[in-house]
Amino acid sequence: MLKILIPTLFLLPTTWLTSSKWLWPTALTQSMLIALGSITWLNNTTDTGWTALNSYIGTDPLSTPLLVLSCWLLPLMLLASQNHLSSEPMNRQRMYITLLATLQLFLILAFGATEMIMFYVMFEATLIPTLLVITRWGNQTERLNAGTYFLFYTLAGSLPLLVALLMLQNNTGTLSLLIIPYAKPLLLMPFGSKIWWAACMIAFLVKMPLYGMHLWLPKAHVEAPVAGSMVLAAVLLKLGGYGMMRLMIVLDPLSKEMVYPFIVLALWGVIMTGSICLRQTDLKSLIAYSSVSHMGLVAGGILIQTPWGFTGALILMIAHGLASSALFCLANTNYERTHSRTMLLARGLQIALPLMTTWWFIASLANLALPPLPNLMGELMILTSLFNWSAWTLILTGIGTLITAAYSLYMFLMSQRGPLPQHMLALPPSYTREHLLMALHLIPLLLIILKPALLWGWFAC
């Protein structure tokens, strides 16, 4: 673990000590080497499942895919930000890379934590760099409101989580993820335990986000600069899913009744946010609501607490991370050229930027869960486990899949097909950097088709 943590930590001196000519290549190379090194974590061959274990951090088949995703994302974020930051003074560019690197550090520590309070501290710690990236480097005045919504929605959920974790520690004597599955059964009280269950889950449900508590997400995703949007969509939402999966083991007997309203909200959210996507005029907002939709399905899969549900949730989290981040990068290529997020203003781009259309096509197909991409694998597993629980959910998930396909197609057709507007004549052609960025997003997604067992979590057998 230190093989990855220490180079990530030393990304901070790197950004401040390299000369301005070599800043971006150096940061990119270092983070890319860290990302390639992190892929070795996917090799979980120990008997207990916990690898790279010491008193504080360790990896297991659940956290490894998410760790590799977050490590993989840092070079991609740097690639995406290089252009829009090039006009800023050097110190601000260094500050931005520092924020991204600190965020990376906290994410690795969060996913690798073996003790719940450490996970909690790192979970909260990721808020600060993200808040600074959104509110300082966002482009419109609404970014301040976005930052406030982001911070306060998450904190209002997670402060009760802290109290709930401390109550759990009081009860079982430990909060170590290695010991908790074997701890004595919980002392349950009729009403108080239900509040405690809700306190444990609400923090992660707000982070995921669950449909009723999702208002921060469109604001934060839209107002954030591209690296902020990427990391939010790809990794930070998954922190919620990961936390839920970890905590589900402890909450067991209570969950049978308590999950009902949340599964209902999650599935309804899939349809509602999907429908909103069909009416969006703002491209980033469309992708943000699509994230809510997919994560609603993930939430449903986790709350159902079956092996297929968990596996589907994990695969969908990783696949959605890559696909959503790719879509945000594509939206950013539009934004950098037109300085507008309105879809009407940047349409018919297949004529102007034909090579980018390939990436738009693949990313849209990934978003709508085309076989044999892992997105479909995740969705199908969650769909099946929900159907096993109750046949009626098929109506909701089926309509959800249909609407997802509809808005993904809408997004693709709106941005790529049709006539090119008359006012867009001087668009710079696609840079190699942008092609590299998209390739690095989508080629791993395609490679996962060959061995999805890497992402199956504990049930890879």
Partner: protein, 348 residues
């Protein structure tokens, strides 16, 4: 001010607090409180500004009333229990009176009303002394009379965190913001004081560097309102970058040091089986966080418009010492990993 007079006043201030710390007789403790009150009065009114004199008068009257109440309570206790020793438990009636008197001294809700107005009338340095040093003596007396009427203490604590949060929301004057911040933090300290005095002391010890850093940052920028702070990005860019960390630490966000007392206090309250109080206190910290966040928005996260001259001032090497601010800022932001060591040091 004449340096001799200044040194007499500052040394008397130190004497008063030390006397209270060292005393085991209630009269001596009261005397220490009175000495520190009297010593800070000239410091407060040194600028002879009507607003400062108003603040001094308000401070004197409230502190004198509180001190008289302390005297009365300790005398009543001496009459009922027959002895003046601080170490012996108080009878419940003088104990409640004493708690309210010390609450008035420190500025806990619901007897907090003097603190924002007094702090607003003072210059930043004297305000710093009021917020940090003057809290020590009543705090230590409060620690020593525990445990006392539990519902009163919990009421004082929860009300203070709520009032500290809501009261600060409408402020644009930085000193009033810091006054409400002080009320909220003292509320947290009181909540845990009845169970574990070391954790209350930890909260105070973490609070003091954070407040010190904030006052020093405001002093460096010579700013007393949020709008003036907005111009600091041109004057002190490095300090502007650090200030959100200090402010968010005051708000209690991990991984900054301000999280440490909140975490420990929530843990203690949960162990004592009052998780509902813990949750209410935790959520009220969000109110305070909002106005800290607003200050950091105005200062760092937005670049306020400025005329061309003000954006490129010459930034000469400052003659003021920057070491205290550097040390306290580092402590305010980066002490959380050293939490076990800090806690171990406090249990001694």
């Amino acid at each position: 001010m004449n340096p001799f007079i200044l040194s007499i006043l500052l040394l008397s201030l130190g004497l008063g607090t030390t006397l209270t710390f060292a005393s085991s007789h209630w009269l001596l403790a009261w005397m220490g409180l009175e000495i520190s009150t009297l010593a800070i009065i000239p410091l407060m009114s040194q600028h002879h500004h009507p607003r400062a004199v108003e603040a001094t008068t308000k401070y004197f009257i409230t502190q004198a009333a509180a001190a008289a109440l302390i005297l009365f309570a300790s005398t009543t206790n001496a009459w009922i229990t027959g002895q003046w020793d601080i170490n012996f438990d108080l009878h419940f009636f003088p104990a409640s009176m004493l708690t309210m008197a010390l609450a008035l001294k420190m500025g806990l809700a619901p007897v907090h009303f003097w603190l924002p107005e007094v702090l607003q009338g003072l210059d930043l340095t004297t305000g710093l002394i009021l917020s940090t040093w003057q809290k020590l003596a009543p705090f230590i007396l409060m620690c020593q009379i525990m445990p006392v009427n539990s519902s009163l203490i919990t009421f004082l604590g929860v009300t203070s965190t709520l009032v500290g949060g809501w009261g600060g929301l409408n402020q644009t004057q930085l000193r009033k913001i810091l006054a409400y911040s002080s009320i909220a933090h003292l509320g947290w300290m009181i909540l845990v004081m009845q169970f574990n005095q070391q954790l209350a002391l930890l909260a105070l010890i973490i609070y003091i560097p954070m407040t010190f850093s904030t006052f020093m940052i405001f002093k460096t920028n010579s700013s007393t309102t949020v709008n003036t702070l907005a111009a600091s990005w041109a004057k002190t860019p490095a300090l502007t970058a650090i200030t959100p960390m200090i402010l968010l630490s005051l708000g209690g966000l991990p991984p900054l040091s301000g999280f440490m007392p909140k975490w420990m206090i929530l843990q203690e309250l949960t162990k004592q089986d009052i998780p509902l109080t813990a949750s209410i206190a935790a959520l009220s910290a969000l109110l305070s966080l909002y106005f800290y966040l607003r200050v950091s928005y105005a200062m760092t996260l937005t670049i306020s418009p400025n005329n061309l001259n003000a954006t490129t001032p010459w930034r000469l090497q400052t003659t003021a010492s920057t070491l205290p601010l550097a040390i306290s800022a580092t402590i305010s932001a980066m002490l959380l990993p050293l939490a076990p060591a800090t806690l171990a040091l406090l249990s001694l």
